[in-house]
């Protein structure tokens, strides 16, 4: 049996104001509330609200056989409460169906796993409590920011009570000849590991509306046919997992409604469920279904789901990114020593990985996805605003 595992990432950062040196020490708000409200309302209307309604209908129609998972960051949930409470309510309605799993991650969508173990554990615990409070379930599956993963991270997650599964990218250089359709174990064989099937995930997330793509337009028939073919080589009755992981904003935001993405999603579950050998499960349900010896995989170096390289280069490659993030974690230590909860909250809002993503210079000339997602004119500007924010933070200590 082949089970489709859907996981959608829901995240909104607190974008910074265009901070000038002269703003430092004036007690000014570091964040662009107006822009953040505007983005949240726009994305809620184009994506979160219509997609949640659609998926809720599909779950009800399919009577428990259509199952999905979300990872929603703390910064997104906070901003739902501020700017779009109806969106949070619609996620709660999904939680109540019993067919939706909510994953655990760092509250601030941060890179703390790479820089500050204690901070990482703190943010994971904060996020876990938030999910319990908002959705009434304790996360059992962990997904780190941007699917960043390495062996060391599985050790940390294993220490936290309740996590049995971690999801990450199905990176070729790790998998080599292996298939991402199996459930694996981490290097020390104590945690269940699911790997994103990036080709089929990206067909929906990135290529769906691309008219230059030979497979355009992507129909449900075509896509389910591909899925059917994945199982051809599988003779026994082993349970396989097709991990379709993507940003939730794919629906209606990255792929506009006019592209037909909602129609695709409306008809996809029933087409899958017509076939007796296909089904849907959530990430935490996979471990019990893995009816075979799970091979363990070692990730000595960090991987992620970003860009061609699928490494950390989107966030911490150039000098600006490195100086910014190293300075941040140094300051965070001092903020914690000071013991002012409001200041710590502000500092943590600066830990969100997006701030470093905006400083990426990899493909800036080509105007690629980094530029699409950045609220600033250039990586240099993003860096200037961020470093000014850190200078302000330090004056507040």
């Amino acid at each position: 049996m082949l089970n489709v595992v859907f996981y959608f990432q829901v995240h909104q950062p607190y974008r910074l104001r265009h901070l000038n040196v002269l703003d430092i020490g004036t007690g000014t708000n570091l964040f662009d509330d107006r822009l953040n409200a505007e983005v949240m309302r726009k994305v809620s209307n184009k994506c979160y609200l219509p997609t949640n309604q659609l998926l809720l209908d599909l779950i009800k129609e399919n009577e428990g056989r259509f199952r999905i998972a979300y990872s929603i960051t703390g910064t997104a949930i906070e901003q739902f409460k501020l700017y779009s409470p109806e969106t949070l309510d619609s996620f709660k309605a999904l939680a109540e169906t019993g067919c939706v799993e909510f994953l655990g991650e760092t509250y601030y969508h941060s890179l703390a796993a790479l820089y500050d173990t204690n901070e990482f554990l703190d943010q994971v615990m904060m996020h876990r409590q938030l999910i319990i409070d908002e959705f009434g379930q304790q996360p059992r599956t962990f997904r780190n920011t941007e699917l960043i993963y390495q062996d060391r991270i599985s050790d940390l997650v294993y220490e936290i009570e309740g996590f049995t599964t971690i999801i990450t990218e199905g990176v070729d250089r790790i998998l080599q000849w292996r298939s991402p359709l199996f459930a694996y174990k981490n290097y020390s064989k104590d945690i269940n590991l699911l790997l994103k099937y990036y080709k089929l995930s990206d067909d929906i997330a990135f290529r769906f509306s691309n008219r230059d793509w030979p497979e355009y337009p992507l129909t449900v028939d075509k896509f389910v046919n591909w899925i059917d073919h994945l199982t051809l080589g599988e003779k026994g009755d082993r349970n396989l997992f097709l991990n379709l992981f993507m940003d939730y904003e794919t629906f209606g935001e990255h792929q506009w409604a006019e592209s037909g993405i909602f129609d695709f999603m409306r008809h996809f579950p029933s087409e899958v469920l017509k076939r007796p050998h296909l089904g849907f499960v959530t990430p935490a349900e996979t471990q019990a279904l893995a009816n075979y010896q799970q091979e363990s995989l070692s990730f000595p170096d960090a991987v992620s789901w970003a860009d061609e390289q699928r490494d950390l280069s989107a966030w911490v490659e150039n000098d600006m990114q490195k100086n910014a993030i190293e300075t941040f974690y140094e300051l965070l230590e001092r903020v914690k020593t000071k013991g002012d909860p409001q200041l710590l909250k502000t500092a943590r809002m600066l830990s969100t990985s997006d701030h470093f993503y905006y400083m990426c210079t990899k493909y800036f000339q080509d105007g690629d996805v980094h530029k699409y997602f950045s609220p600033y004119d250039s990586p240099d500007q993003a860096y200037i605003y961020y470093v000014n924010a850190l200078a302000d933070l330090e004056e507040r200590i």
Partner: protein, 446 residues
């Protein structure tokens, strides 16, 4: 005494020290009773008849073709800025001038003004130097061509005793006016191409600078440093050169109270982020100081073609959040940043004068200025260090950080000193030069 003055910058049309210097100088000359007709790179064919001291702020304007611009005389403007915008004073003047227009103009000038038997071979050579090098498709060169062509009418139709021009952009106009009117020409050197480029620079501009200075009756240099430069690099006759240091006028009753941004000692670079100003040396100094005093903050205020490179390098050197870039600052923001600084650094590679340190000193900021600057000749209460001696600059800053009372005293002494520097002394020297040139002129043209 009436002067026909050509300059490229004058507030609010300003991009650097030239405009500030012209403003202070003209205001002080008007106070001495000297009348000035000022010509700027405006879009419309206008000049500014300045008669009273207050005129530098009112900027009365006269069209050369008033009939065609009767609207201007009757139209009511909200304020000076709006009126000046109407006559085309914009930060970036536009030009519709074609290269063929310039060729035509040059041949016309030659056939009209350079034909009689009194024109020497030497004079022909100077003109050839100017005209053959004022050629190019760059916006700036085209604007200078347009400005020069217009100068002909001002030179013919206005009434004046002397011509005074500021920097190479206006030298061709000055030469033309001198040729047409036969009146003496004074060229004022605020910066040469060597200073601006921080290296050899543009050959065409050297030739125009050389032609303009050679054709002048007097050359005024803003410092000994600049006088040395025009003697050694341009071989200008030493007897014609006069030195008049720039000054700095503080608005009366202005009190600059400190308003800190950072708790730690704050060091400031303020100026264009270009090779000439030595911003890369400033970064090197910052790196050295921050190793000893991580509590210090270095601000780099301004914009320029090296900003991106230095930003990246400051990150590479891991200067954390201790080296900060402001980007462009307006006048009010400049004052705010000055109020927040303790130590000012001017590491210019070549600075003919440099008004910015005087302004910093007026705010009571202890200043470290490059020895390769004119301003170093006029102040005593500042540290003067070779721009390349980053170790000494770093040691000096460390010393000031470790001895705040010395830093404070130096700042106060510097403030007192700057308060004694006035444009009226500079204007008095310029008036003497005017008089001398005029009396020589009258003697030789009885």
């Amino acid at each position: 005494m009436k002067i026909l003055m050509f300059t490229w910058e004058f507030p609010p049309l300003i991009s650097g020290g030239l405009g500030m210097a012209c403003y202070g100088m003209v205001k002080a000359l008007l106070a001495l009773g000297i009348k000035i007709d000022l010509v700027l790179p405006t879009r419309e064919m206008v000049y500014f008849p300045l008669r009273e001291e207050e005129d530098v702020d009112k900027m009365p304007a006269v069209f050369m073709d008033p009939v065609h611009h009767s609207e201007f005389l009757t139209k009511s403007f909200q304020d000076i800025t709006e009126r000046l915008e109407y006559i085309g004073i914009t930060p970036t003047p536009e030009t519709y001038f074609q290269l063929s227009d310039m060729r035509h103009f040059i041949s016309k000038v030659k056939s009209e003004y350079l034909i009689n038997e009194h024109v020497s071979q030497e004079e022909h050579d100077i003109w050839d130097d100017m005209t053959t090098h004022l050629i190019g498709e760059e916006d700036l060169i085209k604007k200078v061509q347009e400005y020069t062509q217009r100068a002909e009418r001002f030179a013919r139709e206005l009434d004046y005793n002397l011509i005074h021009v500021h920097d190479w952009l206006t030298y061709p106009s000055g030469m033309l006016a001198r040729k047409i009117s036969g009146k003496p020409l004074i060229s004022h050197i605020h910066a040469t191409e060597f200073d601006r480029a921080g290296g050899p620079g543009d050959e065409r501009i050297h030739k125009i600078e050389h032609a303009g200075m050679t054709y002048s009756d007097r050359v005024i240099a803003v410092s000994q440093y600049t006088a040395q430069m025009i003697m050694s690099r341009y071989r200008i006759d030493t007897g014609k050169i006069r030195i008049v240091h720039n000054a700095f006028s503080i608005e009366e009753n202005q009190v600059h109270t400190k308003k800190r941004i950072f708790k730690g000692p704050t060091v400031l670079f303020l100026g264009r982020i270009t090779l000439q100003k030595g911003p890369d040396y400033y970064l090197d100094v910052a790196e050295r100081v921050l190793k000893v005093h991580p509590e210090a903050r270095f601000i780099m205020a301004g914009t320029g073609d090296m900003a991106r490179k230095l930003l990246r390098r400051s990150a590479q050197l891991k200067l954390k959040n201790r080296f900060l870039f402001t980007g462009f600052l307006n006048r009010k923001q400049v004052e705010s940043i000055l109020r927040a600084a303790d130590i000012y650094v001017l590491p210019s590679v070549s600075e003919p004068f440099g008004i910015s340190p005087l302004e910093a000193m007026a705010f009571g900021i202890t200043s470290i200025i490059s020895k390769q600057s004119g301003v170093a000749e006029v102040v005593n209460h500042a540290f003067k260090i070779d721009y390349w001696d980053v170790d000494l600059m770093a040691d000096t800053i460390n010393h000031l950080i470790e001895n705040p009372q010395i830093c404070k005293k130096m700042g106060i002494d510097g403030m007192k000193e700057v308060n004694r520097i006035h444009w009226n002394e500079a204007a008095e020297k310029i008036r003497m030069i005017y008089s001398q040139v005029l009396s020589e002129f009258l003697k030789s043209n009885p």
